[in-house]
């Protein structure tokens, strides 16, 4: 600080004053950003403090396992990894079917730390990857919003994003999922796109492609980028905002981005062959046509140009029609019209529930309810419209992008609750803009109305007070000289010109601003009260976010807790069961369970599973669903044909854990019935109602899932009262003939059964006729028939 002060003394002009103030603002915003990073990181640590440093839920366990493999075996083995622990007997090629961004990121962090001799375990690194990246994400938000509306809005948006509950829900410590790094990649890609758009620099365009590559590596949601950016380009062209900057922002992204995306094994040729990417190529053609037209326009006289246009349009239309017809024919010839199921369900929200029960069965693929909007983005929902309005004052290329982003993400979040995550950054950016503008206006009018300030000094005083009271306000101005200096360095004359057009010289600006302020100034009381209300609103948001982070979203779901009179009670049944499987069964034993528990079983119990959360093979899942819905003998045959030794079911009836297998059972029936028609959903429903009490259908009471869940349940309390379904079960006393209980956890939440060995053949006792179910059933059971002809 000493050096600038002496310079102030030497040259006491407004310019030096501004430099000092800008430097101060820069340092201040740097520290604010640092604090935002700390906030984003630390608000996500509730799960570690309240529970433990552990990987959460289902998918993160798979990512964790892949990361372990990566750190143990290295990158080349990782690409070639064929996992035989899952989808038995099919297996899964992990290297080619996984988005590697997250695992490679965590693997790199781990490698870096270990080469510095900091011996953190892979698990620790995985647990804390998500909080670290949410700090990055909030910094990226700052950069993006700063490009759009200045540093004040940027800081506000960054604060909002650092603690938006929707993002917290996917990035608490331990939530080691693709979205954790993908949201950062998404925002950063958008930032670089806007940056390129504002500067027209090819350097940023290249960076943008690399950021896009990272996004493609990380998450399937990259298709959102590759559709949103073309839409924005199209919007700019249509509204007559075409510029060479737009061309530089877009064309390299498509070419480089597509090439890079094709390098990721899981995407590969999909990057050019599926319809999701089609829009980007179409716009790519359009932007070239437009660029060409502008070029021709520049070299031809207006009259000649008109002639040329009519000529080209008439020929071009004919060619276009032909090309489009061919394209439509090609696309229509594929059954799903070239779209993947998940993308289709985005366009047509009813698609999944109609055709793909597996997608529909996942709760995060359901459309959200209104309360979930309030829960996940809270007051931002009210600030977004204001932000959109602020974006139109004035509408720039960058702010039009934000408007487009929020509009599309609102739609997508309405389709699938999971995509609320994409909405959250957009909502934060627009709300940040809205809040910042509102503060700007309110504090501005307060300053203006303050008594005892002369008009001449007003301008200066106004500016200084804006420095101290409202740092963000200052940032808008602080950023300008900084930017121009950078531009000077990068020599973007065009950008400079644009700036000159947009922003008049400093003095004139100050003058006009003062004039403007005088006109727009609100009464002192009104602005003070509104300021207060805004602060209350912000405080409410903070309180809500902290509550959501602490209470709603920090449970790791593999450890459950309940508060009772005698303190905290811990339900650690899942790990108990997995640990038992890990230590007390043979390494090569196969465990069948519903697909939800597949990832956890392979990761925690290290045993081979039949199906897992990857859900890539519908038939295989349907086979397990059919087995669970079949009577004991048929189920035994199916499982035996799959070489299964243990069957694992999750049962919450004793302690009241609602997301157990009985509650998921109808999906098993539906998915099983979708492939094996002898399983019919109405057989399991009494008058359209799903019930397990004495009114339940005999098919329901005899199916394997019912039996495995309630085996000897009646002996616990004598009545067999199911605490989840809040009823006594229908069939209380029964015996298992083909399965035996080998392990049940402390609270009965996980029950593991072993398939009994096939009975010895007794001469003369072979039944001639097979049971009806197996004779009418699928090829699976006939496969068994071949294997065990004496059954």
């Amino acid at each position: 600080m000493a050096a600038p002060e002496t310079s102030t003394a030497a040259v006491p002009t407004l310019h030096t004053n501004n430099t000092v103030r800008n430097a101060f603002g820069g340092v201040l915003s740097f520290f604010i950003l640092l604090l935002i990073g700390v906030l984003a990181f630390s608000i996500r640590l509730f799960s570690v403090i309240k529970y433990e440093s552990v990987i959460h839920e289902f998918d993160p366990y798979f990512n964790y396992r892949v990361t372990q493999f990566l750190t143990k075996k290295g990158i080349y083995d990782f690409w070639n990894w064929f996992d035989d622990r899952t989808w038995y007997p099919l297996g899964r090629v992990i290297g080619g079917t996984v988005y590697p961004g997250l695992t490679l990121t965590a693997g790199t962090i781990w490698w870096l730390l270990n080469s510095l001799n900091i011996p953190l375990s892979v698990e620790t690194v995985c647990v804390f990857t998500a909080p670290i990246f949410s700090a990055f994400a909030s910094w990226a938000t700052y950069l993006l919003t700063k490009e759009v509306k200045g540093a004040g809005a940027g800081l506000t948006a960054a604060v909002l994003l650092a603690m938006v509950p929707s993002y917290i829900s996917r990035s608490v410590a331990g939530s080691y999922d693709n979205e954790a790094v993908a949201i950062f990649a998404l925002i950063f890609t958008f930032y670089l796109y806007i940056k390129t758009l504002n500067t027209g620099s090819l350097f940023y365009a290249t960076l943008n492609s690399i950021a896009y590559f990272y996004m493609v590596c990380s998450w399937g949601g990259y298709t959102f980028i590759i559709n949103l950016i073309p839409m924005h380009v199209l919007l700019c062209i249509v509204t007559g905002r075409y510029s060479s900057r737009l061309y530089i922002a877009y064309a390299p992204l498509v070419v480089l981005g597509t090439l890079l995306a094709a390098l990721v094994p899981v995407v590969g040729f999909n990057a050019v062959m599926t319809s999701e990417h089609f829009a980007s190529f179409l716009v790519f053609i359009i932007i070239h046509v437009v660029a060409f037209v502008y070029y021709i326009k520049g070299i031809l006289s207006p009259k000649m140009f008109k002639v040329a246009v009519t000529l080209v349009v008439s020929v071009g239309l004919a060619v276009c029609c032909a090309v489009i017809a061919v394209l439509i024919a090609l696309v229509a010839s594929s059954p799903t019209k070239g779209w993947s199921g998940r993308s289709l369900s985005l366009l047509d929200p009813t698609y999944a529930s109609k055709y793909i029960p597996i997608i529909a069965s996942v709760s995060e693929h359901q459309p959200p309810t209104w309360p979930s909007y309030f829960m996940d983005i809270n007051v931002l929902a009210f600030l977004v419209p204001a932000g959109i309005i602020a974006c139109f004052l004035p509408l720039t290329d960058a702010s039009s992008f934000v408007v487009l982003y929020i509009a599309t993400s609102v739609y997508f979040s309405g389709v699938m609750v999971r995509l609320m995550l994409v909405l959250a950054p957009a909502a934060c950016i627009t709300s940040g803009i809205a809040l910042s503008e509102a503060f700007d206006a309110l504090t501005g009018s307060i300053k203006f109305q303050l008594p005892g300030v002369s008009t001449d000094a007003e301008v200066d005083a106004g500016e200084t007070s804006s420095d101290t009271t409202e740092a963000q306000n200052d940032e808008v101005k602080a950023e300008k000289p900084e930017e121009t200096s950078k531009d000077r360095r990068s020599k973007k004359s065009k950008k400079k010109e644009r700036e000159h057009v947009e922003r008049p010289s400093a003095k004139a600006k100050v003058k006009t601003k003062a004039e403007k302020k005088r006109l727009l100034a609100l009464p002192l009381e009104a602005s003070a009260v509104s300021l207060l209300l805004l602060i209350v609103l912000g405080a409410f948001y903070v309180v809500h976010c902290v509550w959501a982070a602490a209470e709603a979203y920090s449970a790791p779901s593999i450890v459950l807790t309940s508060r009772s009179r005698d303190g905290l009670h811990v339900f650690d049944d899942f790990r108990e069961a997995y640990s038992w499987l890990r230590h007390n069964t043979d390494v090569d034993d196969k465990v069948a369970s519903w697909w939800d528990y597949g990832y956890q079983t392979t990761a925690m119990a290290n045993r081979t599973v039949i199906v897992d959360n990857n859900t890539w093979n519908n038939t295989h899942i349907a086979t397990v669903g059919t087995a669970m819905s079949s009577p004991e003998k048929a189920a035994w045959e199916i499982f035996h044909s799959l070489d299964v030794k243990y069957v694992l079911v999750v049962f919450g009836g004793l302690v009241g854990y609602p997301s157990d297998d009985i509650n998921k059972f109808l999906w098993m029936v539906r998915i099983g019935g979708g492939v094996f028609p002898h399983i019919k959903e109405p057989d399991y429903l009494r008058d359209g109602q799903y019930r397990i009490d004495s009114q339940a259908t005999p098919t329901m009471l005899n199916c394997l899932m019912y039996k495995l869940s309630y085996y000897r349940f009646v002996e616990t309390d004598g009545k067999a009262y199911d605490k989840v379904r809040r009823t006594e079960i229908g069939k209380k006393y029964f015996k298992l003939t083909h399965f035996e209980e080998v392990f049940t956890t402390h609270h009965w939440m996980v029950r593991i059964y072993k398939l009994k060995a096939p009975k010895n053949r007794i001469r003369g006792k072979t039944k001639k006729s097979k049971s009806k179910t197996s004779s009418s059933s699928s090829s699976k059971t006939s496969g068994t028939k071949k294997k065990n002809p004496w059954h």
Binding site: R575, E741, V742
Partner: protein, 467 residues
């Protein structure tokens, strides 16, 4: 059930006669044992044998070495042998521990193994002394039936000899066997044999020559769980900033009769006295006092079922495995804790430092098949040497921990077949200059300093090509 026992007995007797035959040929000693009393405690899975010998020197030359003989099958399971002599009369008794060392004799009959007790004062001709010998066997109770269901109780065999195997002539001897309960299925009779409640008495037998052997087999109920730690790795990390970090990795197995068939939680929970009586429900670890930051976890996370009780003299950690361990079931887990350094690190007279810490496993009543103790010395320490009261395998390793450059020296000590008796102290001596403590903070400071210098330099250099 009777048939195999009978067969074994016959086999035993033939062996016995063979032994007699062999023994005659070996040269006799000058010593003889005038009275021997042996008490075998079978109540837990560690078999404790208390042997009281009254040794008499009948020869003409003084001797200070007394041999103990063990059959080869027992030696493999022998965890420790201790011998002591009580001196003085009545109130002024002092206990003197004697050296015991395994010895090889060239003419050992039937691969008999020997241990030599070295007396403090040579035993003169005609004198006699009374020795107390304690030895422990592990893995000596053989479950039979080898597999039991959940509701059955655990029955085990114990094999030994009714007569004490000894290279000396024994004038009079008695053996007492104490079973954990009155449920004794069967036991071999070698008259005179009596049974009273839980105790079986073999003898007194008079004037048995050296190397007498008479195999006996006892089949009884032992429902105590058999906690066996197959492998334990203890890592003790010294930080001169004031902390001693201990990490213990366990592979625990229930060594009793294997569990067979169904495990029913409803039976286990509703009738605990009848079901899974021999299952391992919890373990108790005795940790040093002033222990802090204790954790108990396994490879998939924290295990919530543990309690820590601390007082000024000791800390007790009660841990439950994730699931009750039935026979043959395994579990792995990790216990870690921090200790204040000043309780364990001292300076010796020659300006060296030494760590004084317990060697064995802190879990009570457990057998450790293989124990590895690793003492991680601070970076920069030199000339490490370990002093352990019993023979162990030793070697050195290097470990890299937080920001190490040259690595830390690790003293690795390995020992097989441990029992709680081995929980004695060992010392690791090393030299260390306190300057090394500052290496890492200085390194970090330098790194940050250079980083900021680089930042400042970057901001003041114009790297653009064109102006």
């Amino acid at each position: 059930m009777e048939a195999p026992i009978r067969a074994r007995e016959i086999l035993g007797f033939t062996l016995l006669s063979l032994l007699f035959f062999v023994c005659r040929s070996s040269p006799s000693h000058n010593l003889l044992i005038s009275n021997a009393e042996r008490r075998i405690d079978l109540s837990s899975h560690i078999v404790k044998v208390y042997l009281t010998l009254k040794v008499e020197n009948a020869g003409s030359t003084p001797t200070s070495e007394i041999l103990l003989a063990f059959p080869p099958t027992q030696v493999d399971h022998l965890a420790t042998v201790e011998a002591l002599v009580t001196k003085g009369k009545r109130k002024k008794t002092t206990i003197v521990h004697l050296d015991v060392k395994p010895t090889e004799l060239p003419d050992a009959p039937n691969e008999t193994k020997y241990f030599t007790i070295y007396l403090a004062n040579p035993l003169n001709s005609g004198e006699s002394t009374t020795l107390e010998v304690l030895y422990l066997f592990t893995h000596s109770l053989e479950p039979f039936p080898a597999e039991i269901g959940q509701s059955e109780s655990q029955l085990v065999f114990y094999r030994d000899s009714a007569l004490i195997l000894s290279p000396y002539h024994i004038k009079q001897q008695t053996t007492f066997l104490k079973a954990p309960s009155t449920k004794v299925e069967s036991f071999t009779r070698v008259e005179p044999t009596n049974r009273a409640g839980t105790e079986m008495k073999y003898g007194p037998y008079e004037d048995r020559p050296s190397y007498s052997f008479s195999p006996i087999l006892i089949h009884f109920e032992n429902n105590s769980p058999f906690p066996v730690v197959e492998e334990l790795v203890r890592e003790v990390e010294i930080s001169h900033w004031g902390n001693l970090q201990v990490t213990e990795q366990y592979t625990l197995v229930h060594g009793g009769a294997r569990h067979k068939g169904v495990f029913s939680r409803v039976d286990y929970q509703s009738r605990p006295s009848l079901n899974g009586v021999s299952s391992l429900r919890y373990l108790l670890a005795r940790l040093p006092p002033r222990v802090h930051s204790v954790y108990y976890r396994d490879e998939i996370g924290n295990i919530s079922s543990s309690h820590l009780r601390t007082d000024s003299r000791k800390s007790e950690l009660e841990i439950e495995p994730r699931y009750p361990l039935f026979g043959g079931w395994k579990a792995t887990f990790l216990i870690g804790y921090g200790l204040p350094l000043q309780d364990f690190l001292f300076e010796s007279s020659d300006d060296r430092r030494y760590l004084n810490f317990t060697f064995g496993c802190p879990l009570l009543d457990t057998v450790v098949d293989k124990l590895t103790v690793k003492v991680v010395l601070p970076e920069g320490s030199k000339d490490p040497s370990a002093v352990v009261p019993f023979p162990v395998e030793q070697h050195f390793e290097t470990k890299y921990s937080y920001l190490d450059v040259v690595g830390r020296t690790v003293v690795v000590m390995e020992k097989k077949n441990l029992v709680p008796v081995h929980n004695s102290h060992f010392q690791v001596y090393y030299t260390f200059k306190p300057m090394f403590m500052l290496a890492e903070p200085l390194m970090l400071t330098t790194a940050f300093f250079l980083f900021f210098v680089a930042c400042v330099a970057y901001l003041h250099i114009d790297l653009s090509i064109r102006k």
